[in-house]
Symmetry: C2
């Protein structure tokens, strides 16, 4: 059929999204067009267009006549984000449990297995396995929600997941003392496939809450911590 050549703009957009999520650019940092042109081997038009798309995703902010900056972060934002995310994740999960079929269950089991094979690889950021772990983690959570029949809930869920992933990666090796993330995922998958909606939702809520609490406690370069030095 037709060779699916993704346009250069799309590739650039994807790479930039990854770069922002992986915090290769710091929050609040100015994104100089020329600099990105060199780094990604693309021309200014493509870069501008890619940046524009990311604007509406909430990853970068366009300041008229002043270019683009990486969206800032703050404890407040993370708290707000988590509140909304819990609500929407739970809703997708609930719908998913109600409507999921056998294929959906199989996909969850498969995703859990892939993720489990890497265990706690996420603890060492920078390692190539950590990259893979994050992808598999996203795939696992996607699989859980996938059977939700309402496309808008899924769309919003996706948006919020990207945001949260940014925070997750931004923290250094966070203090995961006494936490067994793998076990949490196992229990979650178990409850979901077992169609125990109430239990699944509780587990999901705890899962998300715990992650955020750890991030809030970690030494993350939050913007407000730096405001004392450089008031905008």
């Amino acid at each position: 059929m037709t060779t699916v050549h993704k346009s250069l703009t799309a590739r650039t957009c994807d790479r930039l999204r990854m770069a922002v999520i992986e915090s290769r650019y710091a929050p609040g940092e100015r994104l100089r067009i020329e600099e990105i042109c060199r780094d990604l081997q693309a021309s200014s038009g493509a870069v501008r267009e890619a940046l524009s798309r990311l604007t509406a995703e909430g990853l970068v902010i366009a300041e008229p006549q002043r270019g683009f900056v990486v969206a800032p972060i703050s404890r407040r934002d993370l708290t707000d984000l988590t509140e909304v995310r819990i609500d929407i994740e739970l809703r997708c999960l609930h719908q998913s449990i109600l409507h999921g079929d056998m294929e959906w269950e199989a996909a969850i089991i498969a995703a859990r297995h892939r993720l489990g094979s890497l265990r706690n690889a996420f603890l060492t950021p920078g390692a190539p396995e950590a990259q893979t772990w994050h992808q598999l983690h996203a795939a696992f959570h996607d699989a859980l929600a996938a059977a939700c029949p309402n496309r808008w809930w899924l769309r919003l869920r996706q948006q919020l997941y990207v945001q949260s992933e940014r925070y997750r990666r931004l923290s250094g090796p966070a203090d995961e003392t006494g936490r067994d993330v793998h076990a949490e995922h196992e229990a979650l998958a178990e409850a979901v496939v077992g169609r125990d909606a109430a239990r699944a939702e509780t587990l999901m809520r705890d899962h998300l809450t715990r992650t955020t609490d750890i991030l809030l406690g970690s030494r993350m370069p939050f913007a407000e911590d730096a405001e004392a030095r450089s008031p905008a």
Copy 2:
């Protein structure tokens, strides 16, 4: 002294958004770059960038190497959208009632007054008052939710409102038999300012449900009820 020059791209983006919302372009229609260049007196770069931003807002869809098309509509999409929207509007409203201060109340009263002065001007699409009515209607609903302290809820609310506005405008003069929209707004404002959260939420739910039911019953140019919208 900074003269706030909105960049041409931003203006173009706004005008295109309006054009899509007002259905000056039909759902599914191809958006030819050159055509838009002529219409809006902008160059391809600017138009391209504007279109890209609208992509992530869900108003247009980018098909790689094939340009942009207006996001399609369907009964299914409208139903899904409404379900999500009710949930999020109610949540913002609830939070708003809990946290709103006197200024917030005053803004609601003012917005209600402005909207009331035009009464049912929205019934005659195309008229210049209808345009104004839609703006004031958006402002009224914005005012209701404005005191919600969680920026993410507000952001999602805004996204969904834009989508719903598109459907609202897309229908011709819909059958509003036996409906007094003005009265609904009055009652809503009354309950909200009176801090009667339960009643306000019921009224809001009914308000949104009724609108959607009418739209679903109207002869709207639904794209063969095709499930064409992909939330990716």
